[in-house]
């Protein structure tokens, strides 16, 4: 599914104490990363509810990047391990639903690692570009457009019991 003009939409959930600052630092240092990513700041990666990721996909995202402090450095002690476990489980569930698990990625980045984070963002955008658009149709509104043919207005014959 290679579409030359495809620009992936990526949502990035970043931890306030590390990766969000890393992204900030990348900006200050004029390290470029692709504009495809929309960052959403959480207080900690442990706040990452799988609901957010599903919501992102059902609203049109092609990929979701989750970032947090390195293991052992979470400001709320062990919450990034919780994020790690959720991430593993979420990927398996997405696979069961027919989505490539690679559309979700977890990256650790400290506040000092602006360059590293910019790099990770750029390569994730390319990975998603290679996977192609998700085109999630799940908002339901397009259901009738998927159904070709006659309207439901005609009277139905009785179905024998």
């Amino acid at each position: 599914m290679s579409d030359e003009s495809f620009e992936p939409t990526v949502i990035g959930f970043t931890c306030n104490w590390c990766s969000y600052r890393a992204a900030d630092l990348a900006g200050t240092a004029r390290v470029k990363y692709p504009p495809n990513i929309r960052l959403i700041r959480l207080m900690c990666s442990g706040r990452l509810d799988p609901t957010f990721v599903l919501k992102a996909f059902s609203s049109g995202a092609d990929g979701v990047l989750i970032t947090g402090c390195h293991p052992g450095e979470c400001h709320y002690l062990e919450q990034n391990y919780k994020a790690l476990r959720r991430f593993h489980l979420l990927r398996r569930t997405l696979q069961g639903l027919g989505l490539e698990p690679e559309r979700v990625k977890l990256v650790w980045a400290s506040a000092a690692e602006g360059v590293k984070l910019a790099h990770e963002i750029a390569s994730f955008v390319e990975e998603i570009r290679a996977l192609g658009p998700l085109h999630w149709g799940g908002n339901g509104s397009n259901q009738s457009s998927v159904i070709s043919g006659q309207s439901t207005a005609h009277a139905f014959k009785e179905v024998p019991a």
Partner: protein
């Protein structure tokens, strides 16, 4: 003869179990007859769609609608009954959230038809498949067109109340019928539109009497593989059995865990839960006793079918609503 308020019940994409559950309220069914005129109920009486079409709008007081919206006919009747009814209840898990019929949303409808007409038990040497219209000497005949996905009732029409459960427990059905009768007699008021009725407002865990103490587990295992070793008084999840109680709405009196089986989630998402599967993923992830990626993966290998575990009842009602292939453009 009758000035009695009118009652209807309909089945769309469903199994028929909800109808049985209504009959299972035993002598309470006589109260339904005493207080309502049953005008349309295909499982129980003869009536034609055209009879319903001719009724005045809003002339049916109460319609219990079970089943999801899988095809044109389901949608047509859902819209018709919406027009004709004052109170439309999404009755049972199928109407509320898609339920087991909604699991077919994991595949596209072409695959569903293929499977249905080509299973081991189906001898189909000529590869005959249903067509939505067909010419016969008597004229053209139609069967309803199947949709790419099954939708919940409220994804198609406006719903007044939700009554989840697969099927709803009989004591809950009886309580709801009592309530409506009391409303008719001016002794009670209807709950606000959009309410869940015949349910509790916490989780199955809250109703479950099993003891909880450890917070961490080192493996998941299917109940049939560990049945003989289970402690009957201890929380099943803490013994590694994937139990859906933490995300599931209360109302069944924790029927399954008290009988020794895990909750599989038939009462649907608990109050305030946006996506049932997501809530369960959080709940399961927090009891896994490991911080190492390899070990986490090993533990998760015990969860054989995560999508089925988390969305057995709620796939159509979930944020994603379907597996990816169901949304591919298709002709059936």
């Amino acid at each position: 003869m009758s000035a009695k308020p009118k009652f209807a019940m309909y089945w769309a994409a469903s199994c028929g179990g909800c109808e049985i559950a209504v009959l299972n309220i035993h002598e309470k069914i006589l109260d339904v007859d005493a207080n309502f005129e049953v005008v349309f109920w295909p499982v129980a009486m003869d009536a034609k769609y055209k009879d319903v079409e001719q009724m005045e709008d809003k002339s049916i007081l109460l319609t219990l609608f079970n089943g999801g919206i899988r095809n044109e006919e389901n949608e047509y009747i859902a819209k018709l009954l919406r027009e004709k009814s004052q109170i439309l209840v999404a009755f049972g898990s199928c109407a509320c959230e898609g339920c087991v019929p909604g699991l077919a949303n994991l595949r596209d409808s072409r695959q569903i038809v293929q499977t249905a007409f080509n299973t081991v038990s189906t001898d189909n040497p000529k590869q005959v498949y249903p067509m939505t219209s067909y010419d016969v000497p008597e004229g053209e005949i139609h069967i309803p067109k199947i949709y790419p996905t099954l939708r919940t009732l409220d994804q198609v029409v406006d719903v007044d109340y939700y009554m989840p459960g697969c099927p709803p427990e009989s004591h809950q059905i009886a309580a709801v019928i009592d309530l409506v009768i009391q409303v008719l007699q001016g002794k009670a008021q209807l709950p606000p539109k959009g309410s869940f009725i015949g349910v509790g407002n916490s989780t199955v865990c809250d109703e479950c009497e099993r003891r909880r103490n450890v917070k961490a587990i080192a493996s998941f295992v299917r109940i049939q593989d560990r049945a003989s070793e289970l402690d009957p008084s201890l929380c099943l999840l803490e013994q590694g059995i994937p139990c859906n109680g933490p995300a599931t709405r209360s109302g069944c009196r924790a029927r399954c865990p008290s009988a020794g089986a895990q909750c599989i989630g038939c009462y649907g998402p608990a109050e305030g839960v946006t996506d049932y599967g997501a809530r369960l993923m959080s709940a399961f992830a927090s009891v896994i006793d490991s911080n190492s990626p390899e070990e986490i993966d090993r533990i998760l290998d015990g969860l054989v079918d995560p999508a089925g575990q988390f969305y057995r009842f709620n796939l159509a009602g979930s944020l994603l609503r379907a597996g990816r292939s169901a949304w591919a453009k298709e002709k059936v």
